[in-house]
Symmetry: C2
Subunit: 239 residues, 2 copies
C-alpha cells in the first residue's frame, strides 16, 4: 500500500531486456572495432551536453590541421544534418545520423553509416574518424561504438558541478575538453581549477585540455593528444 | 549481408517493451495527477540540458516570491543532492531524487518522493511543486509525471540550433525559458529572436520568456506566468 494515498502499488513491467540489448550492441561494437583497427583508423567517440561545443571543437581541429590528416565523421542528432554540414565545410568528410527520438548512437547506427564510401573508413582511407554523439551527458556513455577513446566535452557555461552529477559519463572519458574558456571572465565562480577538482573526485586519472574554439587556446594541445593516440601500438582500448 | 565487410547481419533483440513501460508510466502519472489536482497543487515539469540553469531559475523565482507561495520541489540527478540543497537554501522545501544511471524521472520516482511529508504535496499544503528533471534534452520529454505544464529551459550558450535538433522536447513545452541572457553580448550570432524563430519552426505556438537569474530580467514575467497557471480552472493538462 502507498503511504501517501493508500492506493495499491501498480504492477510494473520489469522485463530485463536492457542487458540483452547492450550485449547485442557490444557484439556489433567489437565488429566495428575490427574495421577501425584493420583500416588503421583512430575512432573517437565525442560526447557532451547539447551545446557543449562538440561541433565547434571538431571544426577548429580540422582547420588547424590544414589537411595534414584525413578526417571523417558521423554526427548524431535527433533531427537535421546541420552538424554534418558544418563539419563538411570545415574539411571533414561527414555523414549525418538522424536518430528520430533516440538519445544516443548505437553501434548498428554507426556501422550502417560506414556504408557511405565517402567516409573512407571501410577502405582504410581515413586517419581519424570522429563519432559526434547525440548531445546528452547520460545515455551515450554506456553504448560502445568500437572507438579507441572517448572525448567528453564540457563547457564552462554548464557550471562546475557537472562531473559530480553525471559521474557515469566522466568515468568513461579518456580526455575531457573544457570548452568555451574564453567566456570564463563572465562566469563568476567557474574556473578550470574547480572543474579539475570535481573531475578528480569521479575519475581515476584526469586528462583535460582547456580549450576555446573561438580564440584557438588549447587547440595545439588537442592536436598533440590526437597524434599521441595515433601513435599508440594498438588502437584498441579496453571498454 | 553487410556491404562494408560482407559479414552477416547480427540478429538483434527487438522485444518491444518500450510501449508497455510507457503505458505503465502513464497509469502512474494519472494517479499522480489526481494527487496534484485534489490538493490544488500546480505541478510543473522543469526540463533542459545539463547546466541550462534550471536550479538557478527556481532559486530566483523563490527569492522573488518572498514567501508569497508555498513552494516545494524534487530535483533529479544521477548523483548528489546538490540541487535540492540549493533550492532548500532559497526557501523551497526540497527532496533529491538520485537516479543512479537513469537519464530521466519517471512517475514512480516522483510518487515515491511524495512520501516525504515535508513536501506537503499529498496534504495539499503546497501551492507550486517543481519537478526539476535530470539534465537531458531528449529522454525526459516522453515521461508524463502528472504535471500541469512543462517548462523547458534553454540557455543562450547552447546556441540557436537546439530547437531544430531536439524537436521532441520543444514540441512538449508549454513555456520555453531562454536563460542566461546576460551572456548574450559575449555570444556572436546568438539572439533571442533567432531562437524564437527556430522554436516557431517546431512548436505549434511559442510562449517564451527571456530570463537572467543573475540580473533578474524576465523574473516578473515568469512569476506572472506562474500565477496565470494557478488561475486556470483545472490544473489538468492534456498530455
Amino acid at each position: 500500500m502507498c503511504d501517501v494515498c493508500g492506493c495499491g502499488d501498480v504492477r510494473r513491467v520489469s522485463i530485463d531486456v536492457h542487458a540483452s540489448l547492450l550485449g547485442d550492441n557490444d557484439r556489433e561494437a567489437a565488429h566495428l572495432r575490427e574495421h577501425f583497427t584493420r583500416g588503421g583508423v583512430l575512432a573517437l567517440n565525442v560526447m557532451g551536453s547539447p551545446g557543449a561545443g562538440k561541433t565547434a571543437l571538431l571544426e577548429a581541429v580540422a582547420r588547424s590541421l590544414e589537411g595534414r590528416l584525413r578526417l571523417s565523421a558521423v554526427s548524431g542528432d535527433l533531427a537535421t544534418a546541420l552538424d554534418a554540414e558544418r563539419l563538411e565545410r570545415a574539411g571533414v568528410v561527414s555523414a549525418a545520423i538522424t536518430t528520430g527520438s533516440a538519445c544516443h548512437l548505437d553501434a548498428r547506427m554507426v556501422h550502417d553509416a560506414l556504408h557511405d564510401d565517402r567516409l573512407g573508413v571501410a577502405a582504410g582511407e581515413c586517419d581519424v574518424f570522429f563519432i559526434e554523439n547525440v548531445g546528452n551527458l547520460v545515455c551515450p556513455a554506456i553504448y560502445d561504438l568500437g572507438q579507441a577513446a572517448n572525448i567528453v566535452v564540457l563547457s564552462v557555461t554548464e557550471g562546475v558541478d557537472k562531473p559530480l552529477k553525471y559521474p557515469v559519463m566522466f568515468r568513461k572519458a579518456d580526455l575531457v575538453v573544457i570548452s568555451k574558456v574564453d567566456l570564463l571572465p563572465h562566469l563568476p565562480g567557474v574556473s578550470v581549477e574547480a572543474l579539475a577538482e570535481n573531475l578528480a573526485r569521479v575519475m581515476p586519472s584526469v586528462e583535460l585540455i582547456a580549450l576555446s574554439a573561438t580564440t584557438g587556446q588549447g587547440l595545439a594541445a588537442l592536436v598533440a593528444w590526437l597524434e599521441r593516440q595515433r601513435a599508440r601500438p594498438a588502437l584498441i582500448r579496453r571498454v
